[in-house]
Symmetry: C2
Subunit: 432 residues, 2 copies
């Protein structure tokens, strides 16, 4: 079994703000970026991982990754594989580093990059894509991936085991189903806030032609704009397809309720990030106000850790749980949230987009289906058609479904040429 000998960190940025791709009410000009880590081993292998940011601050996450070096270099992969939850706990609980979190912000984004690289390496060693690797775990192996600290008032290891054992007998059938039909997806490519009405109409029409049944658009900058844009979109997509709206945290709680009452006429399936991602009780208040209108509340892409998700479930604050492979501390903490969501009966609809998020979370949605929830009902994984060409193992979406990843690892590796061109600030994409 290999030993980790070197932690390489690279500051990778794509100048996406030039075309307003990814623009929304809170983020008008993102430069999609990747705090990228490679774990090199003494047998010549490498595990790749990254955390997603939107430009400035990527160097801070890179510094936070480097700050973990003493916890990673020298470690044996057999220790990670034997006790992934214990290993995660050590990585997440350096007695000095945790002060600048704990479990949140730059240091937690850094943790995610490293943890995802460990899982990528694990998959390569096992010769399997991570979704399939975890699908093959026994319930005991699965539970061993979780750090239950701060969770036991909502979910104990014993309850988790019981939940997983219920799904165990039918797992093989669901793997076969996934291989046959893929995992359901929705598109966010049509409705960025920086796009013109004409572009939105054209993209909505294309989305229908491509077979999308779930379409998400950005709202929240100007109410009249939202009403006009949603009318265009409903004209194009009709009333059978599901329409989701996303405010990216711009509202206070009373404003969120008032604004959504205006948008209710367009029958949104969910309102995403109506207010601060930290406001559990605020989301609960919004959920109660919008329930009679048939609108669910979704959040999670800025859901900083498992403790926040635990409370969102306890408070009945969300109808859709949007895990993020990099905001949470990588695969392990995402598995914890899958279990919590299943216990509280909330469907998981992973957040994607950015750089590589689609590649990563597809694994997590599939693990949820095979091992945890056992269901695709009301479950859709976000898809945005950006930047996949930079990946060695890009996600493949056909007929609004993610096809199962086939290559060993966590689909995290970026092509060497792309890394070189987008290294900040000296790559060719940044030097004019």
């Amino acid at each position: 079994m290999p030993r980790i000998t070197h932690l390489e960190v690279r500051d990778i940025r794509f100048p996406t703000s030039r075309d307003k791709d990814g623009s929304d009410a809170m983020n008008p000009d993102p430069d999609y970026s990747s705090a990228y880590v490679v774990l090199h081993t003494d047998d010549g292998r490498a595990g790749h991982g990254s955390s997603f940011t939107i430009g400035r601050g990527n160097e801070v996450v890179c510094a936070a990754i480097r700050a973990h070096e003493h916890l990673v270099v020298g470690c044996r992969m057999e220790d990670f594989i034997a006790d992934p939850g214990g290993f995660w706990h050590l990585l997440n609980n350096d007695s000095q580093l945790r002060w600048i979190g704990p479990d949140k912000g730059a240091v937690h984004l850094a943790l995610a990059a490293i943890v995802n690289a460990l899982w990528d390496l694990y998959g390569r060693i096992a010769g399997q894509p991570v979704w399939r690797l975890v699908s093959g775990f026994t319930p005991e192996q699965f539970v061993r991936c979780i750090d239950f600290r701060y969770l036991t008032d909502a979910l104990t290891p014993e309850e988790a085991l019981e939940l997983l054992r219920r799904q165990e007998p039918s797992k093989a059938a669901r793997v076969t189903e996934l291989e046959r039909v893929g995992y359901p997806a929705y598109t966010t490519s049509a409705g960025w806030l920086g796009y013109s009405d004409d572009k939105i109409r054209r993209l909505s029409r294309e989305a229908v032609a491509e077979g999308w049944g779930h379409i998400k658009v950005k709202v929240g900058r100007d109410l009249q704009d939202d009403l006009r844009r949603l009318a265009i979109i409903r004209e194009e997509i009709g009333w059978e397809r599901r329409l989701m709206v996303d405010a990216n945290q711009v509202w206070d709680v009373p404003q969120a309720i008032a604004w959504m009452k205006e948008l209710a006429r367009f029958k949104p399936w969910w309102i995403e990030e109506p207010t601060s991602p930290d406001d559990i009780l605020g989301h609960a208040a919004i959920a109660r106000a919008l329930e009679p209108l048939g609108i669910g509340v979704a959040t999670g892409e800025h859901g900083m850790n498992r403790i926040l998700f635990k409370q969102l479930f306890q408070a009945r604050a969300i109808s859709f749980c949007q895990i993020d492979s990099c905001r949470l501390g990588g695969v392990n903490e995402n598995l914890a949230v899958l279990l919590l969501a299943a216990k509280f009966g909330v469907p998981v609809c992973p957040h994607a987009g950015g750089v590589g998020l689609c590649e990563f979370v597809q694994h997590l949605g599939m693990i949820d289906f095979v091992c945890v929830s056992g269901s695709m009902d009301n479950r859709v994984c976000e898809f945005v058609d950006h930047l996949h060409e930079h990946f060695v193992d890009p996600c493949r979406v056909r007929n609004a479904r993610y096809l199962v990843p086939e290559r060993p690892g966590y689909s995290t590796e970026i092509l060497p040429a792309s890394l070189g061109a987008h290294e900040y600030p000296h790559g060719s994409a940044w030097v004019r």
Copy 2:
């Protein structure tokens, strides 16, 4: 009015882990550190600010401070002084930087350092210590310091104004009282977890001799140790003085309740940080369980932002609110939390210790007394007797009370020789 021309950042660390000062159940070996910033102006002035960390990761906060340079350099102090809340909002809402928070972690600690430096500069320009400067604000000026985003479901600007206007007529009398008697303090110097029983007994005896009426000790590593140590301390301090205990986040919710039922025989006034600082509903459950035992719940030193405190109040989760001058985004966000605490009737007992935290939060406790709560009842500001000798304007504690700071600014400036010696990794304190 000066313009900011340069943002200087320094990585300052004190090797406190060598003596186990500051050791507790979560933090066995802290090296008290300061991510230190100096804002230089075109008229030769300087404002000093810093954020406190405990060693590794201080360089990450320094990187996060540098990431704010484009938001600060070139700014005029007259714009900050005219609209401190608006200025704070801009600093806290860089559209790309906020992704690695928002309002939390390294980027928020960095914000605090910069904001505190701005207030230090403001105090120097006004020729007043910050507590006195803010005490002289009209209610309208005070409210202009606050960014109400995400707060209006709990506190509107109008309610804040009303609350401040009620205290306005009696402010001058409270300033006089403060100058006469100082602000109440408690000591944490006796009970660090790394200390021997003998040292704890000696320090407890000394604390009594020095006149302390409130004494806090660390618990949570081992129940039998806690029982033995608390017995020693009660022997020394008697039952009239208030004893507080601090678990530094080590417990899950059920464990916190069970452990505190054991410690209840020593009549602790509060249990501090019984579990994850992010667990609002967990704190509320603990508070309900311990209320019949007469033990209050305290938290806040890791309270990441105003949105968390809002919910702690809404959920009736805490009986004592422990603001921190660096964990929250500097003076402005602390003023917001003072207002929320007053609205919900929760006493504010600021967190201190570390490097400079005593120097900074004494101002905030005094502002709370003069402008916001108008009361010293059940209010005590933490005091730890470490590292004050490195400050140009160290806090002065006599008879268990903070004396009012007299020098202009926010008491943030560290002596040049101390900065030089403790610069990491090349200062003389680090080069053996």
